[in-house]
């Protein structure tokens, strides 16, 4: 199951220490007060892969036995923030006029 790794921005072979460090970095950036939704997502993802047993379980049965498969797919797709592209003012104005 890839979603927790994507939420935390980690490779699928990350070890306990890497996962913990990344989690601490992210929760400092997205605190429960400033960004509760993202904080919850990060915490859930960390709980899902925090130790080796959970990671093996995730690899074996993650994503299965979930009737809400449609939202699970969306969560997977959403876990990766699309890469931000440098865009210029002229391009923005043209796009704005196009969609007016």
């Amino acid at each position: 199951m890839l979603t927790p790794y994507l939420v935390l921005g980690l490779p699928t072979d990350a070890d306990d220490e890497t996962i913990r460090q990344r989690y601490l970095t992210l929760v400092k950036r997205h605190t429960p007060e400033s960004d509760p939704v993202q904080f919850r997502r990060i915490s859930e993802s960390y709980e899902a892969i925090r130790d080796e047993r959970r990671r093996i379980e995730m690899a074996l049965f993650g994503g299965m036995d979930n009737p809400d498969y449609e939202n699970e797919l969306f969560r997977l797709a959403k876990a990766v923030a699309p890469k931000r592209r440098r865009v210029g003012l002229k391009e923005m104005i043209a796009a704005g006029e196009k969609h007016q």
Binding site: L2, Y69, N71, V87, A95
Partner: protein
């Protein structure tokens, strides 16, 4: 229709003629009224007529301009953009002298007129009026659109827009290159009151956007005024990055559909169309297209390792197979196309684990693990997880026996045996003194991964049917206590286990240790209180009242949350035992001290406690009878007065009054005791008062009383009220209980009910069957246990069998085979070799579904055999069949066979 149209046109012409007769002023008044009523088209018509009149007022062009702009907005709202643009041109053209426009009109004019006209109009406006920020902001928009900074020269040099513009062209060229940070530096001197301030805010927002500071972006973009050119785009982006309230996933999906955001991101911003397309393709059984979609999604979601992503997507999609939204065949096609051989096998094995035979599938999956986990330690953890998964899937449904019989048969070691790789799960059916197979699985799981706490919790919740089971649980809990020395959980559970074994001192020791680890843990306090009450119970019935009272005081001092009612009950019990001759007075005092339901509950506890008291103890039987009569009289009175006002939860509390941890302190009432406490009328009334959500649980509790008629009557009443189709589980209960203990008359209706049930309901019915099975006997018992009622229908047309599915056919085959095996064993035992006889006996064990079941269960089946197979003559005792077999051969028989044949 045509006539109606003609009449309407005629009326309009008449009205137009009437307008022609009116004065210009009157027409302008009418136009203003129409415009304020939102009738822009009518206003335009009227103003056009008025403009042609002699001495037309000067206000007509401005009014016409406003009317056209209102009309333009109306057309835009209708999505008629081309028409709206044409109307806009008319609006601009009708203004011949924009310098005379009011401020609000000029704002609108500046927003839509060609840039040159807009600047000229503002220059004229400034001749007699002061500068306007609103108009200048519109002019800034025009400058950004045209990037012709020369327009500014048309304005007086002291206008704010000219004063602040010096650094803007350079900043705008930097913005065009996407250098928002540099542009922001350029615009640093721009004040908040400047018409260029929105540009500076845009730079701040974009800098935050690229710093991935979404909060900063939201803050800056929220300050951009609504009349700024890029306001709609910034607003949409803000909604996407920081969804405000509601379901974030929903907001995410809604926002990602907006194409306007695409320019801000590389790759697909909106995965929804691709995912929706994928799900639609799967539902349409277009597995080839679905395969391509998965590939596309995987490459976009996780370009670093698309294969891993494909596995994840397939794992999620596998749920569609369970929910019958995707055929197994299509799923297999996708898996084979997207994954390599080993990965595909891994995926299909995982899918199998969710099927009808989780244990069998788990064993095969474990066999495959070396390929997935070359590292021994990780493999061992994986094995433990797989066993746990199979355990959790199999145990609620008790699939053990079914799975055993569904596994292939093979000739091994001189006898027919089922080919099962169950040793991989820790199950060894041949091992003597083995615990229950599920406990054996748990022990194997712990052996593979002793740090997996979930196993210990599972073990603690398991019923301990035999001494071997108790030993297994005890050893597991001791192991956990050693492994996790700071956790009070194993010690609390050990105390409970020792209490069940009536080893009070060991239980005390365990709970004292737990108390040292977690003195304020409620679980520890509750268990401690339960143990003290157990001691009170023992000492009270032994006549050692002083010891009992001392323990009762200790229990009271603990102030455990759950033990309150039981402490009160024991206090009254001690009073009664010490002075049985005063029973009437003690009960009367108890009644006066408690409120209505509490006292009824206490009396029921008391009644159960005394009913389960050991024989030949103090007080003597006569005194005990007198106490019981006094309590029962009060219960009867209370049931008449309080009974009708009790709510569902209270009734459920009365029917099952003692939680398991207090079972040793107040032995849980048997069905017989409940029957003695509550009369038929009480039971009928309670059943009627129980809430519909509790009725099945209430039935479960009352089944032990054997009052099947009353339960059936209540269920029939409820089903007639609400409909059978609405309550399949209730209907199933009614049909089965109506047949209890051993009739099969309702089997055809039950079969229809199961056939019509959805997969989820089918699962609920299967669980219901397991709960009802202990109250049934004979063939009904077997049908409930196996959740298969087909073979209870005796006269199925054999021709119809051809149209039945394979599973049904297999069951019929099994039964007829069982009869054949019995017939062979009866008829030709002398002619058979010992090996053949042994194989036949083992075959019979299989055909009667005895393999893997407990000895008690097999003995039940043994009793049923002569009756169930009545077509076989001269069969009185099954042990006669193997009577002549040498003892050394009998020892070769499996445990199940030995119990089946010899009891």
């Amino acid at each position: 229709m045509a006539k109606k149209k003609k009449n309407s046109k005629k009326a309009r012409n008449q009205q137009k003629n009437q307008f022609q007769q009116e004065s210009a002023e009157a027409l302008v008044d009418r136009a203003e009224a129409a415009l304020s009523g939102g009738k822009a088209r009518e206003a335009v018509e009227l103003l056009k007529i008025a403009a042609k009149k002699p001495n037309a007022p000067d206000t007509i062009p401005v009014l016409l301009f406003r009317s056209y702009l209102v009309r333009e907005r109306q057309l835009q709202a209708k999505g008629m953009h081309v028409e709206a643009e044409a109307v806009n041109r008319l609006a601009i053209n009708c203004v011949t002298d924009a310098g005379h426009l009011e401020k609000t009109d000029l704002v609108l004019f500046a927003a839509s007129a060609p840039a040159q006209k807009a600047f000229d109009a503002y220059a004229a406006y400034l001749s007699d009026k002061s500068p306007s920020l609103q108009i200048e902001r519109q002019l800034v928009n025009r400058l950004l659109q045209t990037e012709n900074w020369d327009w500014l020269d048309r304005l007086p040099s002291d206008t704010p827009i000219r004063k602040d513009a010096s650094s803007v062209p350079v900043a705008v060229s930097q913005m065009n290159e996407g250098r928002w940070e540099a542009a922001l530096e350029q615009l640093r001197h721009i004040p908040r009151s400047s018409p260029f301030a929105p540009l500076r805010l845009l730079c701040i927002a974009m800098r935050a956007f690229y710093d991935e500071d979404d909060k900063g972006f939201a803050k800056a973009s929220a300050m951009i005024p609504e009349d700024f050119l890029l306001y709609p785009m910034m607003s949409t982006l803000r909604g996407f990055l920081t969804p405000d309230g509601g379901d974030p996933d929903e907001a995410y999906r809604a926002d990602r559909t907006n194409d306007r955001l695409q320019i801000f991101f590389d790759g697909p911003v909106d995965p929804r169309p691709a995912i929706s397309q994928l799900l639609a393709d799967i539902k349409r059984k277009n597995s080839q297209k679905a395969t391509r979609q998965i590939d596309y999604l995987a490459r976009n979601i996780y370009p670093a390792d698309p294969r891993y992503c494909k596995k994840t997507i397939l794992a999620i999609i596998s749920n569609m197979v369970f929910w019958e939204k995707c055929s197994f065949r299509d799923f297999t096609t996708m898996v084979d196309a997207l994954l390599n051989k080993d990965e595909a096998r891994d995926m299909m094995m995982r899918l199998d684990m969710h099927g009808q035979r989780p244990l069998y599938s788990a064993a095969h999956y474990i066999d495959f693990l070396p390929r997935l986990f070359p590292d021994l330690r990780r493999r061992s953890i994986a094995k433990s997880i797989i066993i746990l998964n199979a355990f959790k899937k199999s145990r609620p449904r008790e699939t053990l026996a079914y799975e055993y019989h569904a596994s292939p048969l093979q000739w091994k070691g001189g006898r027919m045996v089922h080919e099962t790789p169950w040793h991989l799960l820790g199950i060894d059916t041949n091992q003597k003194d083995r615990p229950h197979p599920y406990l054996a699985m748990a022990l194997e799981g712990i052996a593979c991964d002793p740090d997996n706490r979930e196993w210990y919790q599972q073990i603690a919740d398991m019923p301990r049917r035999s001494r071997n089971d108790q030993k297994a649980v005890e050893s597991a809990l001791l192991k956990m206590a050693e492994r996790f020395p700071d956790d009070p959980f194993p010690l609390i559970e050990l105390a409970g286990l020792y209490a069940d074994k009536k080893a009070y001192r060991q239980a005390q020791k365990a709970i004292e240790k737990a108390s040292k680890l977690a003195p304020y843990d409620n679980r520890v306090i509750d268990r401690k209180a339960a143990l003290l009450l157990m001691s009170v119970h023992i000492n009270a019935w032994r006549g050692k009242y002083h010891l009992a009272r001392s323990d009762l005081e200790k229990a009271e001092a603990l102030a455990s949350r759950s033990s309150g009612p039981f402490i009160k009950e024991k206090a009254v019990l001690l009073d009664l035992l010490e002075a049985p001759w005063n029973a009437g007075r003690i009960i009367a005092e108890t009644v006066s001290r408690h409120n209505s339901f509490d006292r009824l509950y206490l009396l029921v506890l008391l009644r159960m406690d005394i009913a389960s008291s050991p024989a030949n103890e103090k007080p003597n039987e006569d005194e005990k009878d007198r106490i019981v009569r006094s309590i029962q009289a009060q219960i009867d009175t209370d049931m008449q007065t309080i009974g009708p006002t009790m709510h569902s939860q209270q009734i459920m509390q009365l029917l099952s009054p003692v939680p398991s941890e207090y079972a040793q302190a107040i032995p849980v009432a048997s069905g017989g005791t409940l029957k003695d406490i509550f009369s038929d009328t009480h039971i009928t009334n309670m059943l009627r008062q129980v809430d519909k959500n509790d009725i099945i649980a209430a039935c479960d509790r009352l089944l032990a009383t054997g009052k099947y008629d009353m339960i059936t009557e209540e269920l029939t009443f409820r089903l007639n009220e609400s409909g059978y189709d609405e309550n399949p589980v209730m209907a199933f209960y009614q049909l089965v209980i109506d047949d209890l203990p051993d009739k099969t008359g309702n089997a055809p209706i039950i079969i229809d009910l199961i056939d019509d049930a959805s997969p989820e309901t089918g699962h609920l019915l299967m669980e219901a069957a397991k709960r009802l099975a202990p109250y049934a006997s004979g063939r009904l018992f077997k049908a409930l246990q196996l959740f298969d009622f087909d073979y209870l229908v005796p006269d199925l047309d054999p021709w119809l069998d051809d149209f039945e599915d394979d599973d049904d056919f297999e069951i019929h085959g099994h039964l007829s085979d069982a009869q054949d095996v019995l017939a062979i064993l009866i008829g030709d035992t002398d002619a058979m070799t010992p090996a053949q006889l042994l194989a036949g006996a083992e075959k019979l064990v299989d055909y009667l579904y005895c393999r893997g079941t407990s000895n008690a269960e097999i003995r039940e089946i043994r009793k049923m055999i002569p009756a169930s197979f009545s077509s076989i003559e001269n069969l009185e005792n099954i042990d006669q069949l193997l009577a002549g077999m040498p003892e050394k051969d009998i020892k070769k028989l499996s445990r199940e066979a030995r119990v089946l044949f010899f009891g």
